[in-house]
Amino acid sequence: MNKQSELLFDINHFNFDVEHNYIEVAGEAMIFHCHHYINYLQRSILDAEYIESHLFLIGSAADAVYNQLSSLCNGLDVESSKRLAEQMYKAFGYGLIDLSSMNENGIELQSDKSFFSKTWLMKFGASQKPVDYYTTGYLAAAYAVIYHKPLNEIQATQTECMACGALANSHSIKSGKGNFTTYPPKEKTVFKNIPKLKLGWEHEDTISNTFLGAHASFVGNDEGLIPAFGVYLVRNQSDYVNRLQFEFIKAMGEIAGEYGEKLGSELLLEAGHACGFFTYSGLMTSKEWEGAVKPYLKTKEDWIRGLISVINTMGWGYHTIVELSPDKAIFRNYNDFEDLSFVRMYGKSNHPVHWANSGGFTGLMQLIYNTDLVTGNPIESEEGFFQMRRSHMAYETNMSKGISCGDDYLEVEVYR
């Protein structure tokens, strides 16, 4: 095996924590999101043109990746570090990068395989401005780690973007006056170890055990992408993606207090809603579902229990049901990824911060009770999604409890 093809990053080397439904890679909690969620989140942030959001869009990625690569590249030489950074980027589903031309001065990188640029185009059409902030941050972090540069003395910019019509993305990384936010060290993950209310469904363990470990099969293909269940997945550093939410709401609050936070929160919930709707729909119409879950389903409520049994193996915490009917549900999540992330980075919150989880639960209710998915007629298009939202009474979402607020778990009420 030559140096170029040597496998330096392998997701199978990182264990899934079954007790907490959680996975870390080199100190960073990792979670999957779909392209619907990530792009909706990023577009909502970019819609607020009066916020200097590039500071945290790049900075959040750079911070998380810097922490991770600092650990993973420890003891490796420059060339091996570059290969590892390329392989991790690909494995997580962000696309392909070639760091061979990176040197002491930085890198001018071109790539025509980018999760962000490709899926922005798919979801929204052409963009006026470059959209692959994550890769800019990733490259800044890789440069800082490999060449021992301070992260706050790096200029990182995306100059061309396929989402704007370019043939390839271009990123410029060099030493100089820093142009993105860097953050103080964060705390380690602290789990809430309390007795869990189990799902209480006889098939839960059978289904969860079937899917346990399946997360490791979601790694980037030859294009560095993870197509699955009708969407593109990415394995995010949880603190990268959650910091985007937290910094966005903070900025909205600085501009307009609770009113600004309210406007931002509604769109964060919608991002989670779209994720729940499209990704869960794809999962519940997949071959894997057909073979391993569907035989156990008798009622619509079973579809929700089956879905929860599957997603509890993906590293988002332990989801369960307190109450469930077509008109009202109360969902709970022990050690949910958003609250753990907030506590690591910011400490306590005076309001719930689990918009993605809660929006996801709302999307799930919408999917089961407001569509014909369970009878074999899923809605797969954006326009179909919009039409369904217009023609059915929407579910309301009340984020009632959160670990970052001092509670023992996340709880959300979804009702109509």
Binding site: S44, E49, M252, A256, G260, F386
Partner: protein, 72 residues
């Protein structure tokens, strides 16, 4: 002053879900200048929402850009 409620209703009927929130977020600094703190719930529940014509024009332009169509 002009009633902005029918414009929002048109946007909701022809645009993406949460379009009202999106319009309001995009125009937040302008809304604050006009001392307006309207929300999607307020728009939904109001029979009439009167705003200054200059703000109405801004909302109309933003709504049309998002929907990709003209509001007559």
């Amino acid at each position: 002053m002009k009633n902005i409620k029918p414009l929002f209703d048109w946007a909701k009927a022809n645009g993406e879900s949460k379009i009202v929130d999106r319009i309001l977020l995009k125009l937040l600094p302008e809304l604050l200048k006009y001392n307006q703190k309207m929300t999607a719930d307020m728009v939904e529940n109001a029979e009439e929402l009167l705003v200054e014509e200059s703000l109405y024009a801004l909302v109309k332009q933003t709504a049309e850009n998002i929907v990709g169509d003209h509001y007559e």
